[in-house]
Structures are given as structure tokens and as C-alpha cells.
Amino acid sequence: MPENDVLLELKGVVKKFPGVIALNNVDFTIKQGQTHVLVGENGAGKSTLVNIIIGAHIPDEINEMNFNGKTVAFRTPQDSFSAGIAAVQQHFSLIPDMTIAENIFLNREMRKGRITIDFNKMNLDAEKLIKDLGVELNPNSLVRSLSPGEQQIVEICKAISKNPKLLLMDEPTSGLKHGEIKRLFDIIGKLKDMGMTILYISHRLEEIFEIGDWVTCLRNGEKIADAPLNELDHQQITKLIIGQEMSNKFPKEEVAIGDIVLRVKNLQNQKSKVPIKDVSFDLKKGEILGVYGILGSGKDELAHTIFGADPATGGTVEIDACNCKINKPQDAIRNGIGYLTNDRRNDGLIFTMGVMQNQTLAALKRFCKFDYILPHDEQTESDLYIEKLKINTPGREFMVRNLSGGNQQKVVFSKWLISHAKILMFNEPTKGIDVGAKIEMFRIMVEEAKQGVGIIHFTSELDEVMGMADRILVMRSGEIVAEFQRGQVTKDELLRVATRKENIAV
């Protein structure tokens, strides 16, 4: 198919889910040979549109859908794969205990005759695919032994080996270290040279401009922009995504900082995935303390250890000058700590329950007389916080699993606000959240700081920690290696300190 001919076209797509219209009469076109970027908030309809393209969802209404010159109607993912669409999803579908080659050719293994698998040929073909992408990997290694970045390369090989006409990549850089991101972009460059058409979904503006040719923007289930990337700049795209001018990127305000509310002394955890060695720091009331570290720095483990989710093997935690033993989350909560983890699906929300039940989960005792839950008290509090945090939900009984990512995060947030925490720990609070909701998160953070709550903001996003923190601690390999005051360090310096011992050139 010649360049710039239409490869994929959808017209008039409508898709509804309980309580929300995910796609409202959307038209979408991808031209052959371009790297087409799809942007939009969580809940804008990006994932839904992508799922319809790969056949994982069936649209409620659609006027027509053409792929590669033919009219199509995908009922299952199998249909789209047969037609020539391959996808590299955010969550990999690899079998950890099988080799790279076995995974690439899963269900399409070469045979010697009818039954026996030809492992030799499989390994050779896998090696060729890997080499073509400019990477060094042994096709015989088990996927379990690979880093997320390497696993992603296996996924890419798997997709490429099907000779697709369209390659889909969904938020491919979430979960990758800096060096791996660069390697990914090199690979994408090679794919572009091969003439591959790519549909790239991302919310990271820097990346979009680096590799994209064309951008489509969705908001609230409607398409609101469709243009070549060289005609737009960062500001314009952000405005398109959130629908308004983002004058102040981070709603940071000066807040009066009070006494020390939390004192961590020589905290150790030998049993965590990244061992924590001798961490000490203070947190003051009203302060936003940023803890910056990349993947593997131990920041997640530190947060878990302070909260008692992964109990410390040494050191002390003092809250309001009293030494408290924190061996389990209950202890931490009793002492006024709240913890928003980096994985709200696994750690933060109960998907079988509604909004209200999730909100009051950590502080139910307050709404009870003996063990009986007072319905009116609980409902009033729930409504109050739905209002306060502007949680977009049809009602307080609505199932949280049907909410968008940003709203889900707000529900978790309200859980800790309702528990009246004096110390709030956030780990990657804006992961998987649209730009608009991000700003909201930070606004609420500042509100809490104004009330005298001490905040620890664990993150691996440079922009965020530079924009929000009063003080920044840098973590590397389980220790704190540097401390900076707000405004006294540059992005480059932070990155350098955080990665010094890491091998960034891959």
C-alpha cells in the first residue's frame, strides 16, 4: 500500500458502558506509514477506541470500518490479528516460564513434520527478529529473567513476527527506565524505516513530539483534534487534552511550615525487594517532602516500610515525638499515617464494593456504635468528600471498577482524608491519570498541606517533584543520597544524582 493512503478508518463509533458514554460518534483515520499518536485523558475514550480496533470490544453502533482497503467488522481479537493488526499492550501477555523464542512464536511454532516443534528454527528466527531491532538478547533465556524493558522487546518481536500492517503500542514507556526508553525509541525509529504504520497511545508530551507524525486527541468520548504534529506545540496539545489553558502547571502555594510531625531514624529493611539501608529524615507539618528515585531505587519499599506494610527490621519511627512501633498497617493508621500506593487496583481499591464503602474503609470505626455502622453518618461523610474532591460518579453506591482512573484515585485519596491522617504518603499519585485530574490531585495535596498535614510525595516523575516539593530527597539503591531545597537544583542534576551508579547507556 502506498504511503499516505488510508490504512484504517472508523466512522461513527458509539460505545456505552454502565453509567458513561465512552465514545460518542467518533471518526478515526490512520494513514499508511505514519506514526499516529492518540492522546486524551483517562476516561476520554482512548482505551475503548483501541479495544474496538483490536476487536476486544464490539461497538454499540458503527457506520463503517475499513482496514487495508476492505470493509471489516472485528468480533474478537483473533479477527483483528488475522487481518494484520498487532498490539503491544501495557500489560504483557508473556509466559514467564517459557523462553523468548517460545513466547514469540506461541501457538505458531514451526514444526518438523506435523507434531514435533522445530526448536532450532524457532531460535534462529527469534534471533533474527531481535537483531533486526538492534538489540542483544539470547532467545533461549526465560522471560522470567528479563527486565520489564526487555520483556517489552519480546512483546514487540512477537508483534512484528506476525508481519502486521498496523502496530499498536499502548503507553509503552510506563514502567521503563530512562535508558530503556531511549532504546525503545531507537527501535521505533527502525520500525519506521521499515515502513511500519504505528498507532501510539501516550500521555507523555515529550515522547509524542519525539516520535510522532500525526496526533488525534479525544476528550469525553469525542474527537476534538486531528492534525500533523509539526503544526502544534506543547501548550496547544495540553489545551486540547484538558480543554483549558494550563497557566500554572503545578498549583503550588506557599504554606506555613510547622513543627516536626514525623521523624524517621535509621530505618532498615533487609527483607524488602530493594533492601532499605539506614534511612533517616524529618517531616514537618504543612511540608511537602518529595522523595525522588527511579525504578529500583527503593522508594516504593521505603514507603511500604514506613507504613508497616513491609515491617522494618531496624530503626525507629517517631510521630509527634512519641516512639511508635509500626509493624503492620493498622499501627500506622492508628498513628495518623495514610498511604496512597502506586498500584490502586491491587492495593487501594476493593472492586467488589461501591464508592462509599471504599471511602470509609480505613475509618469505619468512627461511623459505628459498637459494631453497627450508622448509615446516615457514613452517607453524609461520603457525599461530603465526593463533593470536596469533585469525584465524578453517578452516586455513592456506584461500583468503583466502573470509574475512570482519575476518579478511582480520588476515591482512594478520600479514604485517607476521611481517616483524618496527619501524615499523607503518596506514591506515584498521578500514574495513569489524565492531565486535568493530575492538577486536581496536586490542588488537594496543597489544601491538605495548608491544614497542617505533613506530606511525603514519592515519585519518579522529575517534573512533579520539582513542581510540588518544598524539599527533595533523592533515593538510590535503598538509601537517601542527597537532599535539596526547593528551587536550588536543576532537573539534570536530580537525574544525575539518582542514576549515578545505574548503567544508563544500554
Binding site: 487501594g348 474503609l361 453506591e397
Partner: protein, 326 residues
Amino acid sequence: MQTILRRYSRLSKDYPNFNIIMSTFLFLIGLVIFLSFFSKVFLTPRNMINIFTQVAVYVILGVGMTLVMATGGIDISIGSMIGLTTTFLGTVMLGYGFSWWFSILLCILAGGVCGAFNGMLIVKFKVPPIIVTLGTMTLFRGLAYAYQEGRVHYGFPEQLLWIGRARILGLPVPIWIAIVVFLLGHYFLTRTRTGRHICAVGGNMEAARLSGINTGLLLFLVYVILGFLVGLATIILTARLDAAQATAGTGMDLHTIAGVVVGGTALSGGRAFMVGTLLGMIILGVLENGLLLAGIGFYWQRVFIGIIFIMVVASRTFKEKQTAVS
């Protein structure tokens, strides 16, 4: 009529819990109407009381099982627990001659001890519930056989038999006991903090733990509660039969689980409905009774019950998968 239907379908889509209970209830009504055509005796008060007396024991067991399944667990040893506790009751009441109320108390406690044994293995040793209760199923039954050495206890005192045979306000005592247990169980699950926490543990154990819930204690507790209720059920069973045999309770574990599942409680945990369990037990009871009265032999009864069970659960799971947001 239009608005009722429209309101119903909107409620069902947005609040799946309502849909589950409602559809189970409608199924029961439909079943009763259908079966009534096959026998004139089916809808008589005497037959209905018959059905509900049988169902009463299962409701008591079901309440306990619903709590266990709400945490995502399961207990297939309750049938054997019944055999063991009834043997124990016989020994204690007839063998040692303890007073009737003390013996009843001991029986319930014995059930609790068995439950605690299960709970301890599941929580402390982190063995999956299905494996633990598979083992204790054999263990308890073996103990019952060993203990009883083939004898059968019979000739229980009047006070015990009263529980099985007397009526209060026209309804047999077991039905009243079941009503009380059901109401307490429903209240506990839906209105108390502990009940809410139990559902949270089943819904997402890690999230519950990180919200400060004592997951270990709750997991242990539900098996103990089930154990106590098994003890209570045993008392009623023994009272009705006026006999204590080591083989008692065979097959009752699976029947209980079937009733809970038909009622809408999910095996995976987090979603549990006492009302559903009540309906489920009634459905099974009505089925057995109705088919029997229709002249269907015992073996074909099992075939029908099995098919209907699969149909109910499959259609419910299928509908859920359709409306689930990915």
C-alpha cells in the same frame, strides 16, 4: 408497566447486586409455579412446612458458609464436622450423662473447635482453604468413625427431642432457629463493621490489609463461626432423628455450597448475600421436594438438580462477563 420495566433494567445495570437477588427470587417463584402443576400436594401448608423444616438446617449451615465464602474461602469439611459433633453429642449426653443444656453447649463448642482448627491451618500456615478442608474432611470423618466404633447413639432425652419435634405458633422449632440465625447473619454481614471488613478481605485482601484491616483474625473468625453454626445444625439434626451416627452429614457440605452459590454469593469472595443464600436453600429444597412429588425417582432428581444448578450459575456468570468493563 413500561416504567416499572425501565426502572428495573436501569437498576439492574447500574447496581448488579440488586439484579442478582431479584433474578434468583423470580426464578424461585417460577420454579414453585411450575412444580405445582405436577402434584396437588405440593402447595399444601403441610408440605410447605415439610420443605422448610428440611431447609432450616441448610440455612443455618449456609449462613456460616456465606461468611466463609465472602472471604474468598471455602469449607468442604462441614459434612464430616457434623458426623464428628453428633458422635460427640451422643457421647456427652448419653455416655457421660451431662445435662441437656450443657451437652448442647459442648456440641456447639466442639463445632467451633473444628472450625478453629481449619482456620488456624489456613491463616497461620497459609494453606489454601480447599486443601485444608479437603484434609479435615477426611480427618473429622475418620475421628468420628474411630470414636464411635460402629455404635449408634439413640434414646436422647426429651429436651433435645423437643428441639426437633415441637412447634411454636404452628411452625417447627428448627424453622424458628433458622429464621433467627438468618436475621442475625444478614444483619452481621450488611450492617456491622466486622461484616463489611469480611467482604473487603474477600474483595481484595491486600487492599484490605493496607487499609488497616486485621485480615488474619477475620479469616480465622469466619471458620470458627461456621464451626459454631455446624454445631447448632448438628443439634437440630440429631434431635430430629433421635440418633447420632458417625455417617451423619454426608453430602451436606456440597449441598450447602451449592445453595450458597445459587443464591449469588461469588466463590471468589467479596460479594456475599445472605438473602441469596436463603433463597438458594429454598430453591434446592423446593426442587427436591417438587421433583419427588412429581414422581421423579431419586437418581433422576440428582440429574435435574445438577442441570438446573449449572444453568443458573452459568447464565449468571455469562451475564456478568457481558456487562463487565474491561
